[in-house]
Subunit: 308 residues, 2 copies
């Protein structure tokens, strides 16, 4: 009954969005908006295990599922508008991605705004990638992945990896990435009413907290303003009803301009982060396709030695 | 009865804003939004004369009022979100500024989007300034001025003048400038309800038409992302109720950072472009202060020879 489920999900989403965000909405209330989204991620798959750990200076947790290759590693950046969320709040989604990709994941507890403004979170992302390499993990066995702000962070991290001359990751996967903090995609207005989860106001406020007075078009904050030269293969999924739809499609354009292999899939009639509902057939298809992509791009058998 | 007038004006403004802008609003309808704003500019002062002319390749009109120095020239950029407006629609406001500043003005018919996207309008602005200099007009007798998008254009023009190594204008004056096409000022959200004239949706759509796919934080489109080093003295006026309030205050911050002399005045309880209503005491004060500023900064007696 995917259609019925979808309808229920959409209705629940609208209820959440109903709490209006204004310029006087405080950080705790903004965070509650995001946690009401991650609360919908459903149950964590039974066999998944989560172990607190540290990669270089950055905390996070290892996510292990049955049947995963120890040599295929997803470096995962959770969502939450750069101001909210954690590895814990995103466990069900990350565990399902690990199952689909037959991979283990390191889920990063990158620093959040407003306590730590841009580019603190990005520094943590790059530091954790660098730490993986220092452990002897092959770049060809690492896939960067993320949702929402974490998806944008994954692409910003690719920019930083490339510009620092580090070995490039094997691939990048993002669900509904937020890749333009200037909020200039047509869908920000065109889908303002159809998006049941996110609003311009919520993203506007999140951007202010994260950027302080820095430019919203800094490529390290908003990777669609950077060049994608030498990026690895990319897969991006988003829903047709969400305000971030054009962030996904513009990543596709940027990648194509740079002759980077890219697959952007806009799921018709789907809401923001529809992968959160494991009962939706579209969610299953999306996760399966991302999983297949991860398996095809990351070695999984290379000389990726003990990574923990 | 300035208070009553103000109340009537505010009510009229709200009626205008009531026609909602969406992603499917076409260019003609967007232009009607702006023309409903310029329609409020009131009557043109009787003694003003307007003569069609050309400065280099750019069309426009000379504005002459009684008592003005022939050697003090305002290069004026009208408002209209980069997609609407003309010298004709802004005649009453420009004529009143000329009276206050005892100056003549060249009001530029710079090219508009979507037919001519960024940076066409800026090129016209710079070309007209260059043409004034070629005519033998001294830079020290030229004041750049504008409202709304034209105010942003005036600061972008300063950037271009400086970067091209041209002699710098004497001063820059702006009413409610739109200087951030990334729409990232706090007042965009904080004043969303109090602004009776402009909406985020209208500016968002205007920015899309003007920028096409170019960055909303390009300093030549959004001068608050540029550095103000070597800028001439600046005066900016805005209303406390408008969504562009923070564009004005951020121009003040940028100027101060660059040690540029700057005066930013936020008029309490005032709407966007309150100077449009000549019966408002605040409008009279604002125009008088801008006029005094223009008179004090531009020579008005120099070797500025026949400029027409």
């Amino acid at each position: 009954m995917p259609q019925l489920q979808s309808a229920i999900f959409a209705r629940a989403a609208r209820v959440t969005k109903g709490r209006a965000v204004g310029a006087d909405t405080d950080i705790e209330e903004l965070r509650r908006h995001y946690s009401s989204l991650s609360d919908r991620l459903g149950a964590t798959p039974g066999p998944a295990r989560f172990a607190p750990a540290q990669l270089g200076p950055v905390k996070g947790e290892w996510v292990d599922v049955e049947g995963a290759s120890a040599h295929r590693i997803i470096l995962y950046f959770h969502g939450g508008g750069f101001i909210a969320g954690s590895p814990e709040t995103h466990r069900p989604l990350i565990a399902r991605l690990c199952q689909a990709g037959q991979a283990r994941a390191f889920s990063l507890a990158y620093r959040l705004a407003p306590e730590y403004a841009f580019p603190a979170g990005l520094r943590d992302a790059v530091d954790s990638y660098r730490a993986l390499l220092h452990k002897g993990v092959s770049a060809s066995s690492i896939v960067l992945a993320g949702n929402d702000a974490g998806g944008g962070l994954a692409f910003a991290c690719l920019l930083a990896i490339r510009n620092a001359g580090l070995p490039m990751a094997a691939a990048c996967v993002a669900m509904s990435p937020w890749a333009d903090l200037a909020l200039s995609g047509w869908s920000i207005l065109a889908n303002a009413r159809s998006d049941g989860a996110l609003s311009w106001e919520l993203l506007f406020m999140s951007a202010r907290h994260y950027l302080k007075k820095q430019s919203p078009a800094d490529p390290y904050a908003s990777p669609i303003y950077g060049g994608f030269r030498d990026f690895p293969p990319i897969m991006v999924h988003a829903g047709s009803l969400e305000i971030l739809k054009d962030d996904a499609s513009r990543i596709g354009e940027k990648a194509a301009e740079a002759n980077v292999r890219v697959s952007v899939e806009i799921y018709d009639g789907m809401q923001h982060l529809f992968q959160a509902n494991p009962d939706l057939s579209e969610a299953r298809v999306s996760l399966q396709r991302m999983g297949q992509f991860i398996r095809s791009k990351a070695a999984g058998n290379a000389a990726a030695t003990a990574a923990q």
